[in-house]
């Protein structure tokens, strides 16, 4: 992992008045790597990810994509660089249907500049069927869909375009077991396609099997970044809760090698 990282977030800060939501955090992400970002509710995970997706301006720090310093002033800037995000809130427009949401902000148009609803419907049908074969009600406003279906639309929107970095903020929060398994399969598939993934969660069991590395935040600070082989679930739990590793900790894989 010595080559230039796909994403490098360096010394990122975000304050809200007196609250330090993100406090001098540096993380990086390589191609084909899944990094689990863990921490309690309110630890600052969403803020850090929103900064990377261009939805929130940082108070300080620098972002580099493939070694090149970038400045995201709106989500489109990040999307243009291949950074796609599945927001915790899903960010769907309730009154629009699935295809309209899938293409929101980058609608397909006909030669005359009209909306090409036919093409968008066709594309939506394909990508949604890939994620959930039972997805049929493509003409219903998304407000009338189930939590799982809404989540699937948000996921589809993030992988349909030319994605290089995928941010998944609690992607399985609204999903049942079979859909969660589908997301896990999808993550593996995207990883082998060389996409770098930030997988945000407050539940370690969700992410432990999928990640190459875990990064833990506590009260806005980065308290640990470990290869998944180095740590046990208990170690990570200790990082999440106390903000530090157990006193007697040593890297698990090294211990085994001794």
């Amino acid at each position: 992992m010595s080559q230039t990282p796909l994403v490098a977030m360096i010394d990122i800060e975000k304050h809200f008045g007196g609250i330090r939501a993100v406090d001098h955090v540096s993380v990086d992400l390589h191609e084909g790597e899944v990094v689990g970002l863990l921490g309690h509710n309110g630890a600052g995970k969403s803020c850090l990810m929103r900064i990377l997706s261009g939805a929130m301006a940082p108070s300080g720090g620098e972002i580099r994509i493939k070694g090149e310093a970038v400045h995201f002033s709106e989500p489109n800037d990040a999307r243009d660089m291949g950074v796609e995000t599945i927001y915790q809130t899903l960010a769907l427009a309730d009154h629009l249907d699935a295809p309209a949401n899938l293409f929101l902000g980058r609608e397909l148009k006909t030669r005359f500049g009209n909306l090409d609803d036919k093409a968008m419907l066709k594309a939506a049908r394909e990508v949604l069927a890939r994620l959930n074969p039972n997805f049929k009600n493509l003409h219903d406003p998304v407000s009338s869909l189930s939590g799982g279906q809404r989540q699937v639309i948000a996921i589809a929107r993030a992988i349909y375009f030319d994605t290089k970095v995928l941010i998944m903020d609690e992607p399985t929060a609204a999903l049942g077991p079979s859909e969660t398994a589908m997301v896990a399969g999808l993550i593996k598939e995207l990883r082998s396609a060389g996409i770098g993934i930030f997988l945000v969660s407050h539940d370690i069991h969700d992410v432990f099997d999928l990640c190459d590395r875990v990064v833990v935040m506590n009260k806005g600070r980065l308290v640990g970044s470990h290869h998944i082989d180095e740590v046990s679930k208990d170690d990570v739990l200790s990082l999440i809760v106390k903000g530090e590793l157990p006193a007697d900790w040593s890297a698990r894989n090294l211990k085994a090698a001794q």
């Binding site: 899903l90 960010a91 009154h95 629009l96 929107r157």
Partner: protein
């Protein structure tokens, strides 16, 4: 696949908005029919061609304002300034005619003045983060004040025949000269304001449902934060909606002043309420994301016919205000019920 072809062809929004909106529009249409039947029974003169034309003319002004209002309401906003902007635009057009401009460019100036007022609204709302209610209430006073100030509160008359064509002319009007020298109207024709309303309504529906900006208008009103995260330029979208509303208020002002062949700086007071009522009766939701041009057209006719019918039945202007006030409250109340989870 059959529905794929269907959705790409129809102009209608049936597949974009909840089924409840259909029912709402249907009930509005039924109300309209009931009003027509009721007034026709209560007054002989109501159901005549001449009165029909009067209704068309009155409705065209409410309708033009209502189309712009619908766009603004769909973004989740409100435009209280349209009545005043209408007056200011009419005055600007008249002054341009007085300054020697031909009628068409002069009226263009009026529409531009309206668009400028709308753009100002949009900028105040998006840049200064002032709520639409307050921003457009301010513009309501500013535009009215401007109109009264530049005219000295005196109507501008003597604008020439050409100025009156838009408001008083008609297409396919057939007049026969009778042997005694007096003309006889065979077919009164389709008034220009009605044609203008039809064109603008079709253009509005096209914009809202076939163009990207229309989709962004709906998305912004539906969930502003989600739209922003999805890459919709929310501020630009709102600016667009308010500018259209201002421009259409300008157009409505020209129609009205042309009708009178006089620019009245005090014209159009409270018209914003008629426009809001038309949009809400037609199914637009004040919480944003929902609304159709066709619905607003039905709403505009309900308001127009209600006013006209009450007049024809000899109901006093005071009672009319009470009735319209109750109708507006009723329409918003229905909107509230619809939005209750």
């Amino acid at each position: 696949m059959s529905d794929a072809t269907k959705s790409s062809k129809t102009f209608d929004v049936g597949d974009l908005i909840p089924g409840g909106a259909y029912i709402h529009r249907l009930s509005a249409l039924m109300t309209l029919l009931l009003l027509v039947v009721g007034f026709a029974l209560s007054s002989q003169a109501f159901f005549s061609i001449n009165n029909g034309l009067t209704i068309l003319l009155q409705t065209s002004v409410i309708g033009l304002l209502g189309i712009g209002m619908t766009m603004v309401i769909i973004t989740g906003g409100i435009d209280l300034s349209v009545g005043s902007v209408l007056a200011l635009s009419g005055v600007v057009s008249a002054l341009a005619v007085k300054a020697g401009l031909p009628v068409v460019p002069a009226m263009g100036c009026g529409v531009l003045a309206g668009a400028a007022c709308g753009a100002f609204n949009g900028l105040v709302i998006t840049r200064l983060r002032i709520p639409p209610f307050v921003a457009t209430l301010g513009m309501m006073l500013i535009a009215r004040g401007l109109a009264l100030q530049i005219t000295g509160a005196v109507p501008i008359s003597g604008l020439g025949n050409a100025f009156g064509i838009l408001g008083n002319g008609a297409l396919f009007r057939m007049v026969e000269m009778r042997p005694n020298g007096f003309p006889k109207v065979i077919f009164p024709g389709i008034p220009y304001p009605a044609i203008l309303l039809l064109i603008v309504a079709i253009a509005g529906a096209y914009l809202l449902h076939r163009r990207q900006i229309g989709r962004h208008i709906i998305a912004t009103g539906s969930n502003e934060e989600a739209s922003r995260l999805s890459g919709v330029r929310v501020d630009r979208t709102k600016l667009y909606a308010y500018t259209i509303s201002g421009a259409l208020a300008g157009l409505a002002g020209n129609v009205l002043m042309s009708r009178l062949v006089t620019a009245q700086p005090s014209e159009g007071v409270m018209y914003e309420l008629d426009a809001i009522a038309a949009a809400v009766i037609g199914g637009a939701s004040l919480s944003g994301g929902v609304g159709t041009i066709s619905g607003t057209m039905i709403g505009a006719f309900i308001i127009g016919i209600l006013r006209n019918g009450l007049n024809m039945s000899g109901v006093s202007a005071f009672i009319q205000q009470i009735v319209i006030g109750l109708v507006v409250i009723g329409a918003v109340w229905i909107d509230q019920i619809r939005n209750r989870p």
